[in-house]
Symmetry: C2
Subunit: 333 residues, 2 copies
């Protein structure tokens, strides 16, 4: 595209279309992260919430509700709930992963301490549940509390499945649902539920969020092996060095002969990595078409998301959400 | 009392009276702590849940519901919810406090790791919220999610108020509500709400749980300075050595002259403790009647609990709950 005809990214278009609603979400977040006696809580929360994330998850809730013609006030509460759950999981993730950087800034566990990250995360979880009770819709509560359970279960699974060469694509998918897709699908589904639309539309919104989240995460895991470091902000092979069993490696291990299996056992399971191992890993991923197959999977999930979204009534919002599904895998070409 | 006429402790009597309901709670807890793919979750949970705690919190919910004539099935869900929230906070507390022992056994963070304790705690929080949604009562959801927020806020407050000599009795009370009383009062209140009794009885149940929890925690903090190590399982002065600003010390600091204030500043704020300091602290606590005043406060809260409980309809259950309030401070004579 030429410089004269800049095409806006789908999430930037979403952001413009939902500008007014998002202002409400941001105001509610600021209001509810306050604490009369414990200033540590808003300090830690603000560090993350105001770090310039894309706010994709709350926008998915707002967009789904609008798409379904909702005109009440509670999509704002649910969007804030989704952002609080997301922020709480980031705080706890950084403790669990012993991370020192997120979005190019020092993590809360580094700036304050692990204790603050654990406890402020708990506070945000509790505030999320308080917020989600306010619309008075039991189905919404069921969806969001189940998503929270899936997220935590996926994290424990990732902890215990790490470095286990027996990890299957099924388990990988469950970890991915925990990491990303469960909150995406809950975010879109509750938008439809709060609007009171027919069950088939609610189901379509769920499928869209689920498939979008999975496509997003698979693309992320693939780019770790073939991405452009300038575009992704990650170095090629970070996951390999951190011995993460992501989809490309799971596919390569499934197709491995004995010698190759010994290589993966040494490098991933035992963590004994030497010069040239990343190059060897990439050669094995290519030999078995693991990267190509992973890309096909991501495209298939993006297609599933688009098909589901096309079941929704025609509107500009719908078109942007369809484009968003294309966008998350566009990086893979 | 003679050996022929053993007087059973109130919680043992509660346990007998609620035997059947508690079997249901235990079955539900086992069912809901399961995870198809992540066996780490039930392992860690079972380590705590089956550690032989008194299960006082779920019994408070069951007893309150029974006292109010509830004959539905959902008091069991709410009791299990309360126990899950309690277990989740214990897991996170042990990470935050870097504890290695609880109830005489190694903590989960020691047996597994901090990561597992953080994530399994999150899973139990989420499961608690799923469970509390099932009775379909929005007020119950509001009470329990607010209690969860108060608990987390109290923990952050304790973290930041620690070693700050300006900590007031008001802040102490808020920390105590977070540590103990908020879950006690939510446990009793939801028992009345689920039974659908009049507002004044719901309020009485709330007041009972709140005051019982505060009396319990104040008694605990007092016994740290004057308890019998054999009976309490704690050594006299543990809180002093850990520089905790509990009620006796807050009262002594409020009455301190300049020299005494310098002593507290050195020992608690700066943590510079020497031989003979505990004895000096005890002398100051006695000089200002801080221990006696703390005991009076505990007795007053126990009295508040008893007065509230006496507003409930006469029954054996009511009498046991009145006795329970006496029991938590009986250790102080």
């Amino acid at each position: 595209m030429g410089l004269d005809t800049p095409t806006k990214k789908p999430h930037d278009r979403l952001s413009e279309m939902l500008n007014h609603d998002m202002a409400g979400v941001n105001a509610l977040i600021r209001e509810r992260m306050a604490s009369k006696h414990a200033p540590r809580i808003p300090e830690v929360t603000a560090h993350l919430v105001e770090a310039g994330g894309k706010r994709l998850r709350p926008m998915l809730t707002l967009a789904s509700a609008r798409l379904c013609g909702y005109d009440g006030p509670f999509h704002v509460h649910l969007a804030a709930t989704v952002e609080f759950i997301h922020t709480a999981t980031l705080l706890h993730d950084d403790v669990v992963d012993e991370s020192s950087q997120r979005r190019g800034r020092p993590t809360a566990n580094l700036l304050w301490d692990n204790k603050s990250s654990v406890l402020v995360g708990d506070y945000l979880f509790a505030r999320a549940f308080q917020l989600m009770v306010e619309p008075g819709d039991l189905r919404v509560l069921d969806i969001l509390s189940s998503a929270a359970a899936t997220i935590a279960e996926g994290e424990v699974l990732q902890l215990t499945a790490a470095q286990n060469l027996k990890t299957t694509e099924e388990i990988y998918l469950q970890v991915v649902r925990g990491k990303t897709a469960a909150l995406f699908s809950a975010a879109t589904e509750v938008g439809g539920v709060i609007a009171g639309v027919d069950e088939d539309l609610v189901q379509a919104l769920y499928t869209y969020g689920d498939a979008l989240g999975i496509a997003f995460q698979i693309a992320d895991d693939l780019l770790d092996y073939q991405g452009d470091a300038n575009a992704t902000g990650k170095n090629v092979g970070d996951d390999f060095r951190e011995r993460k069993l992501t989809l490309p490696v799971i596919k390569a291990i499934a197709a491995a002969d004995d010698t190759e299996r010994a290589f993966w056992k040494r490098t991933i399971e035992k963590g004994d990595q030497r010069d040239g191992d990343l190059e060897q890993a990439l050669a094995l991923l290519n030999r078995h078409g693991a990267l190509e197959n992973t890309r096909d999977d991501a495209l298939e999930w993006a297609e599933t998301a688009k098909v589901a979204m096309r079941a929704m009534p025609t509107s500009e919002m719908r078109d942007v959400l369809v484009d968003l599904a294309d966008f998350v895998v566009a990086r893979l070409y």
